[in-house]
Symmetry: C2
Subunit: 343 residues, 2 copies
Amino acid sequence: MKILLDSMGGDNAPDANIRGAVNAINKIKAEVILIGKEEVIRAKIKEFYGKEMEEISDRLKIRNATETIEMEDTPTVAIKHKKDSSMVVGFKMLKENEGDVFISAGNSGALLTGATLLVGRIKGIDRPALAGILPAYKSQLLLIDAGSNTNCKPINLLQFAQMSSIYLRNTFQIESPAIGLLNIGTEETKGNELVRESYQLLKEKAEELNINFVGNVEGRDAFSGKIDAIVADGFTGNVFLKTTEGLGKFVKKSLTESFTKNLLAKIFSIPALPAIKRFSKTMDYKSYGGALFLGVKKPVVKAHGSSDALLFEYTLIQAEKFVKNKAVDKMIEEFEKEPKDKI
Amino acid sequence: MKILLDSMGGDNAPDANIRGAVNAINKIKAEVILIGKEEVIRAKIKEFYGKEMEEISDRLKIRNATETIEMEDTPTVAIKHKKDSSMVVGFKMLKENEGDVFISAGNSGALLTGATLLVGRIKGIDRPALAGILPAYKSQLLLIDAGSNTNCKPINLLQFAQMSSIYLRNTFQIESPAIGLLNIGTEETKGNELVRESYQLLKEKAEELNINFVGNVEGRDAFSGKIDAIVADGFTGNVFLKTTEGLGKFVKKSLTESFTKNLLAKIFSIPALPAIKRFSKTMDYKSYGGALFLGVKKPVVKAHGSSDALLFEYTLIQAEKFVKNKAVDKMIEEFEKEPKDKI
């Protein structure tokens, strides 16, 4: 297996990308191809580890790419014109089977455009969407769309529900994943026009499409562990995602300060450290890795824009699992067989 | 001062409402008028406390109202037809100056309809909105609209920003409250149509309307303590609110379980209990009381639907402060003077 890593994308690139790859290489079996400015990457590796890349692992490779897509770049323009950027080169390698999965922490819009234009949508899916995995009570919660499609129609939300069902069934071995619609109340009359119409469409099509649609879900019940996936348009989904992130940060900061308020508090909290660590781990979004672009023909993983070395490491490990599970092949298979089933 | 309490509204009514009022009565100076079925209220008080209402406090009163607006009732129909319901009676008393503030944990839609139809909007405000107060890092965050207007226009968001500025200036003594627009990125091109247009309108009108508009704010930065109010349409705002609630519950559950996983963890966490309590208090949304309907001519407070006795107690205490601060009078004053300022 070959994992393609955009080494120039993200707030902490290329340092965090490179360190993450080096940390991950002995924890995975795949080859990791660092895509970016070869000279820069080689110099960084020498600086960080005092040796050549080849001395670290024979599964660590480089593909030279001289340009970089910046956060300020207009997605379509960047994808069309920066042909030798780490992102475009990565997508082309993925398309031509020179790699099994592409990971990037770069410009989200460009990543979506590139995935759609250069790799292509799965037949039957109008809009690929970003699926993020969040921690939930004794389980996890898949959020789709986590931010790629700001304006959606009910048909898009139906397809998001379908994709998440297929993904959770095949990758998490959840036989009948519970899919909820993110709303502000549980009654079917609640919400704005989009969610009200989407509710009706989901209710109507659920059985035919093998979706275990559990109805409207409010944010306060999303983390109960009873819901496996939550469906929303990309704007609402992203608000949901970033709110959980923001509150998570606030919780950590407040918790740390409560335990280090004064010397006595510090000393008294020492015996409780294992419990505090256990709790922090539950709350650590980072260990859940990157988000997946569901609906494109090959595996594309969006790493968090502010990824550090540790998060890149986790994302690489998760990407290897993603490929092993053949999640995308199964998605293609199910979407292509569907019309036949209906006859 | 007289506080009007809808004693029949909410998931735990009338028990929690009555207990909350009895608990609060010695912590406030106001009179509390319990609105609802007199016989039921009197019987409950006797059952809970073994004495008559008059023996508890001479500031505890009853106004009989024979009907109740249920959660399933259609708001406009209920307000128009259930004329002797605790909610409609409460609004009428408020309008006729038989009380200074009305609190209800009942049907939100009916409460909004009643506030608008029976009490009336402040001149210059198209849509009153629910303003909730959330905890933030070393401070608090005002969220407006927390859920009353599912479909909004940019002018509504501009007015929400104005109302929260006036409110925070007068009630929290924040001279120049920082008002952010809830969005999925900080750049002005981010978001859906509503937020992009609202951004432009806010930018254009901020100086004229004395709004310290700090631009787009992502959920992840909302709790940093740097933002005093966050503006959103009622759908997005409610998703934001309930997501923080949901994550808050999940955090508490996980934290408790981490500290009680086994006997050793339990014992070891004893010395850290004060720190844990300190942290839990920061995270306790309940101590922040109810949400306010800003934009109506008299103070209306929406208590949480699932309020227990403690939450009713907090909400009563907060409502007394709300009246003392003359927040609504100042709102009317500022909105009415504005046209003159513009000349």
